[in-house]
Amino acid sequence: MRLRWLKVLVPVLAVAGLAVALASCGGGGGGEEESVTSSKFAPPTAPPDNAQKGGTLTVISSGDVDYIDPGAAYYQYTYMIDGALDRPLLSWPPDETQRPQPDLAEGEDLSSDGKTLTFKLKSGIKYSPPVNREVKSADVKYAIERALLPGVANGYVAAYLGDIEGFKEAEAAAKEDPTTAPDISGIETPDDRTIVFHLTQSTGLTAEQALSLPISSPVPEEYAKQYDAENPSTYGENQVNVGPYMLESYSPGKEINLVRNPNWDPSTDYRPAYLDKINVESGFTDTVSATKKILAGNAEINGDFSPPAQGVKLAATQYADQMTLTPSGGNRYIALNTSEPPFDDINIRKAVIANSDRTALVATRGGPLVGPVATHFIPPEIPGFEEAGGLKGPPDLDFVQNPQGDPNLAADYMKKAGFDSGKCEGSVCDITMVGENQPPDKDSAEVAKSQFEELGFNVNLQEVNGDVMYTKFCNVPKNEPNVCPNVGWIKDFNDGQAILDVPFNGASIVPSNNSNWPLLDDKSINEAMDKAKLLTDPDQRAEAWGKVDADIMAQAPAIPWIWDNQANLASSDVAVVINKFNATADLSFTSLTK
């Protein structure tokens, strides 16, 4: 998904100069950066042996979930809460990053041609009050079908489940009648415990991964349809849950309260669910104060914000046991518009990447602790990362080898592009850049601007609100500027397709809501991606997507500069367990120590 997760609201008093202090704190950057999982901030992924039941945990957040409705949720922070409320067919235990494990399902079967996915549901899983009954397979079918309603508006169902037979017809039906969930004929429920997905292509592994997201958490039609008939649907505030917790109350932008689900049977679940209650409090926009509150307080953890640079330094130096760093599965990059001059010339693009001091860009977010310098696009711990070159990057691409920039190499590439002086000259060098107007993205854009100017470009940087940047400029190809400096992608699930397909496949370029920001449309890369999507062996997929990543990097469509770490904080009396898939606290495994 587009990088919405790592929303860092830097307060007025944030100190920029911490970058230097943090750089000395965290060690070297770029290719020599040690994996964060081996550092002293490695995330705990299992509860302590003496984990205690009981107590109330408070989650401190700056903003709100995107949608409390699990069918609409498309945000890492919302998944953190959904993980305690809902049980999709498959899910991710805290230490799992390769393949999702059965959750609502007791097992799955993918046919050898990759076109039929069958799940058997566990028995004894019941809804919270007022529904109370046992889950059946038709509930999972309804959960996916209702995602097509404009009142629910799931953002990824078409991208990842669009190959289910009858999907297009169902989409059309939802447009005709937006108050009734359409039938998707390719989802069969031969009995109450079996659900079968028939696909038009062998994209079963992709569908499997997508079914690990909240969309496949069951929804009882007889209860939900009254709410789904409204536009927007009000099922979210009135939802029933099958996880260890249930939604007690939701006040948008203020608070979310979770209590134990009285109908949850622990013998059907791998989650221990130690806490009695979880209160989520929103609105802590001063993240420096919020960081201090968590570190010095009791029974609190952070929710949707990463601590700002000042907060990371405080935690790393004075509260080291209370901070963890987890690869978020996301990247950030500076997209170059390859469809028009000057960046339609690959040598100019390579020059720009060679010249960029990516450690300076990383410093705008707080230094090496917040993530290693990126050398390609698939982040660490996602299959395909090592195959694409790992931390050092594709070895045959000289323009990404020096994280601090190589002006001489950049000059050589500019000369190959026809600029004898080694710098850009002429009116073709007048470029526009549209970035965000809030730090730290604003800071990154300004650093990027200065680096382009070193190479002779005249940069007109316009800083706008983030949503405007996307929906009016960067997401609209005909309005797209030469450079979109504040873009990035975070995985929807742990597969190279989830990182590379939408942002770099030519087929995904659309007139609006476009996320292929470089407008890259390379026939051989597109074909390689289309082939890789159909692979059903995980090792072959990792190999194939790793090669695609390296091939994309060889085209130099963007300057990747960081694979973010997610910093998580906890009070001293919280035995936090981090879910590595989501890079957030796992509320079902976290406990209080006193």
Binding site: P150, G151, A158, E171, S251, A290, K293, K472, D492, V502
Partner: protein, 320 residues
Amino acid sequence: MARYIVRRILWGVLMLAIVSAVVFVMFYVFPSADPAELRAGRNASPQQVETIRHALGLDKPIYEQYWEYMKGIVLHFDFGYSYQSSADVRTLILDRLPATIWLVTGAAILWLLMGLPVGIISAIKRRSPLDRATMVTSLAFISAPVFWLGLVALYLFADGVGKLPIFPGQGSYITANTIPEKADSMILPWFVLAAASAAIYARYLRSSMIDVMSEDYIRTARAKGVPERSVIMRHGVRSAITPIVTLLGLDVGVLLAGNAILTETVFNIPGVGRLVFTSIERSDLPVIQGVTLFGAFFIIVFNLIVDIAYAYLDPRVRYR
């Protein structure tokens, strides 16, 4: 007086209609994010975006959208749904209003209690060391940005993070359940919000009192042997306070309309100001419209209250 009030109410309704039209046009015409795309999400297909656009009515002509919106308000008191959270706008605003009312009411009482006596005493003891000290202090409070004052207050006095942790800190209003707890959580925000206004009111009243105390009728009252305390309070303050009443009405109306955003943000008070700020960030037009209309309503009502109060404060004022 009754005819005057009715006339003012009718003008108020017309003002609300004009305000709603202006806001509607502003967010429609000027560059802002596309609500359909924001609602659809990052991976949505163009067809999904168009389906959502159609479902939200955003593909209709602007005048039709405005007509539907106003019909909903007038007939059903329905302000629509947030494009972002799908929550009912009326519920969102009414849910946030109590926090803002708490904040503004407490702060208003404080700034009156602090500002008025200081203004009166400064006027009476003009040019004394006390007068100079209070006026310099008031200048400092007027100059200090409210968010800075708020952060300083937190870092000095807030529980958990302050040097002298004697007051509840950021976010304590959310967890407060009883009235004493809510009041306790508001002490720091009240003082922060009241500081600049108290200073302004002190200066205004001082200036107004100085003018009034040099009037002939004040000299006459003294000449007739009226005690000085009565001269000051019954004759001086009563005349000097009318501009303060105007200011109070405007200030309270504007703060209830969302202008306490900085204080609400610093202390994490889930009020109307925070709501409108996040809505503007996300181009959530229904919420922006709703809050603006509520805000305009408060300003109009408080202006009317102020004008009626004039008639009682100043017998020379008569409305027809």
